[in-house]
Amino acid sequence: MSRARQDREVLLLALQAGRILLENGAEIFRVEDTVYRICHAYGLYSANAFVLSNGIFLTSGDEEETQFAKVLQIPVNHANLSRVAEVNQLSRRIEAQQCSIETVRQELERIEQLPEFPQIVQILAAGIGGSCFCLMFGGAIPDFICSFLIGALLQLYLLKLGRRYFSKIVCYLLGGALVTLLSIFCYLMKLGPHLDAMMIGGIILMVPGMAFTNAIRDMADGDYISGSVRMLDAVLVFFCIAMGVGFVIALYGRLTGGVLL
């Protein structure tokens, strides 16, 4: 393979690795670092990467090395940390021992094809997660069972409807409303005595913990633009959930004239 072709291949692979990382919830710093590590491992030192929360700009070229420029726009996706771990492992391997470019390409392909958990497992996990948090915030055994159902139904909604068809704002607004409706229903049917614990168990499943944590870490690393974008994302989701919750509680108050709790 000619030098120019090889350089091009390496840069494309570095971009692909960066894209997988960024899509699946890695920090900006890690994306840049991985792109450089891959480029350097194949003797490409003029590469320059500029990474934002939803895009990568990669250029290279000087007197000896090939001119190359590519911009990659990256849609916000649902994160999968396994992929981050795998790409990280791959970049360590590339550094430690020269892998052939073909191997790297195959590995990246494989990582991208890594299966998600089956939806039923995710729904059960959400149920368990919700009910555990319900216990932590003052729930009793009946609330625990209700919370399991609320969490599972919420995850079903997020998987089948919310994340697929709605914008983020509408998705979490309706999610907050759904949790509130179900919790009020359980409370009124005397299935669970602690309305607040059931509510919190449901809400916590939508809380943007990843966006929030990554935002802070990006800002601490000096990546202010990406940090602010991610923070805005987190705050927006927080507000949408709160509005969804508030809307249903207010509606309930209007309809019945009664006050909950």
């Binding site: 999968n80 555990c132 919190i200």
Partner: protein
């Protein structure tokens, strides 16, 4: 007894979140340990101080442990950190703020909202400070050739 149940619930909840975030299965035990310890420290510290202080201490513990395991297991710290910190994120604060706001108890709503903000700031401080610590500290006890 209550403390034990709550810690177990936190550990179990953390694992459920790691699954939802798609973390690799081999790390679930560590995620559970981190989430459980963080929440236990919060529970012990909160009555002695205030929720923001307790959150700060718990965040520091969660991140120290996350970095410790990340170096030893050679994987991105994000995997442990994100699920471990979820119990501390003020999800309850959002609910109470929204609840009091629409039931016309505005000053209580403001109190709760501000409380949630304080807890968020405590988490921010914890994250920022512990990530300033040099990586070397977390390699104590590792053999030379394992440094990477």
């Amino acid at each position: 007894m209550n403390l034990l149940i709550q810690t177990l619930a936190a550990a179990c909840g953390t694992v459920a979140f790691s699954l939802l975030f798609g973390a690799p299965k081999r790390y679930y035990a560590y995620c559970a340990l981190i989430g459980g310890s963080g929440w236990l420290l919060y529970l012990v510290a909160a009555p002695l101080s205030s929720p923001p202080t307790a959150t700060f201490l718990a965040t520091v513990l969660v991140i120290l442990m996350s970095r410790w395991f990340a170096v030893r297991k050679r994987c991105p710290v994000t995997i442990f950190l994100i699920s471990g910190i979820i119990p501390l994120v003020p999800g309850a604060g959002i609910y109470w703020a929204a609840y009091y706001a629409v039931t016309n108890q505005l000053s209580t709503a403001l109190d709760r909202g501000f409380g949630a903000l304080k807890i968020s700031v405590a988490i921010v401080l914890g994250i920022v400070f512990v990530f300033e610590l040099p990586q070397k500290l977390f390699r104590v006890g590792l053999k030379k050739e394992e440094h990477l």
